[in-house]
Symmetry: C2
Subunit: 237 residues, 2 copies
DNA sequence: ACCTGAACACCGTTCAAGT
DNA sequence: ACCTGAACACCGTTCAAGT
């Protein structure tokens, strides 16, 4: 090939039906295997997909809309990959569910960013669909004697805790927060250390996270055990 | 004044000592009384402060550094505005502390954005300083028979829950999540509704938040009561 | 109908002055 | 030493074509 083919690109024009929304979203996910979503750029994505930037706007009328589509897909895939509940007792079911919840998202920064960190951008049309596992849980709680409102609160509390943990972990503020007494004896609730881990790469998931996460779950479930109406006279009436 | 003084601005050059980091940070806070931080722009801020954009870069070598400074100040001001603890028992102390925590940040979107939503950008030099209230709490827990590691976990769990709640609330995903049974009986953990509230303005803090928040605190504290080593033989040895 | 480059109004940041 | 406009390489988005 000639040595100095200056600006040799001029990508050929693509055929009429050669792109579609699904491909774009899929491509965006692939692109984000390399780059954090927050850094994904329309021109960059277009180059990656080998289309003109403006072509993307034919299918998504804004970047936000594209991110919404990605979030929808992330949610569906997330729900699908939640393993079915094996446990029988309500306590184990709750624990199992939220440990799966946490594990899945902690292992997938992109999904975590889309699902937990992204802001209330949408009504999550796609969310309601594949969402029956929660029902299962609520039912189990009802069977165990929890009144509906208490059951929902329980579910909500665990969900908030899980999301909070993922958030704080993802922002790298969690590494030695619990395990290591800060020598002088000082603790900090929002920014315990964040100095230990290297900062260049992905926040790098603080050290002892999984056990620390499970403690909170244990704690909340213990509380629910206590908050549950006593069962002695539950069967009657 | 003449009708068509086209581009009449040409702001006069400022004196040599007329800006300083403190003023810039203060100005930025003032600017954000009007605009969400995420939308604050260096040119906009400069215009608001009546300085050249580049002047800001003399004191802060990047926008990130400026935001860090803002976060530091937000943290200090946050700690200072935490009312002193009145309660005596460990349970009430914990509740009081985290309710204050929540109330303060829920009422101040800017501080919430800087402290909770911003990412692990720094070691929070300024945080460790005014941070003795947590000590107080840890001590109270120790006095109540909690081993140090358990006390820290307790504190951490409550803190994570609080931050998670603020996050989810700030992103507008919380409004009717608990109070209203979704008719069909479906619940969603990440995006319960988000469709009810108007979306244009600030996420508008979902309806029944405070009670919902306190439920989780009650729940976690109840769990701690159960997790605490039994006191019967605590005074001995 | 679908794909596209050029262009617009912005951004964060740097440079090379001005005082 | 401090303050500054012009300029740079980007961004998201729109426009006016091209096919």
């Amino acid at each position: 090939m000639p040595a100095s083919a200056k600006a040799n690109s001029k990508r050929p024009r693509r055929a009429r039906g050669s792109i579609n929304p699904a491909d774009i979203v899929t491509g965006a996910f692939e692109f984000c295997r390399t780059t954090p979503v927050d850094e994904m750029t329309m021109p960059q994505l277009a180059a990656f997909l080998n289309v003109g930037v403006t072509s993307i706007y034919w299918y998504f009328k804004s970047k936000r809309e594209l991110l919404d589509a990605m979030t929808d897909e992330a949610l569906v895939s997330f729900y699908e990959s939640m393993p079915p509940l094996r446990s029988q007792g309500w306590e184990d079911m709750l624990r199992e569910f939220f440990v799966s919840f946490y594990t899945l998202l902690a292992a997938d920064p992109l999904k975590c960013d889309l699902i937990v960190r992204r802001i209330g951008h949408q009504a999550d049309e796609g969310a309601m669909r594949s969402w029956n596992r929660a029902e299962q849980l609520l039912t189990a709680l009802a069977d165990a004697g929890f009144p509906p409102s208490l059951a929902r609160h329980a579910f909500f509390t665990l969900s908030i805790y899980t999301q909070g943990f993922l958030l704080v972990e993802r922002t790298g503020r969690v590494s030695g927060a619990i395990s290591s007494p800060p020598a002088g004896g000082s603790a900090d609730l929002v920014a315990a250390d964040a100095a230990a881990a290297p900062r260049g790469t992905q926040p790098a998931a603080g050290s002892a996270a999984p056990e620390d996460f499970e403690f909170g779950i244990t704690n909340i479930i213990a509380g629910l055990r206590q908050l549950r109406p006593s069962e002695e006279r539950a069967g009657a009436a």
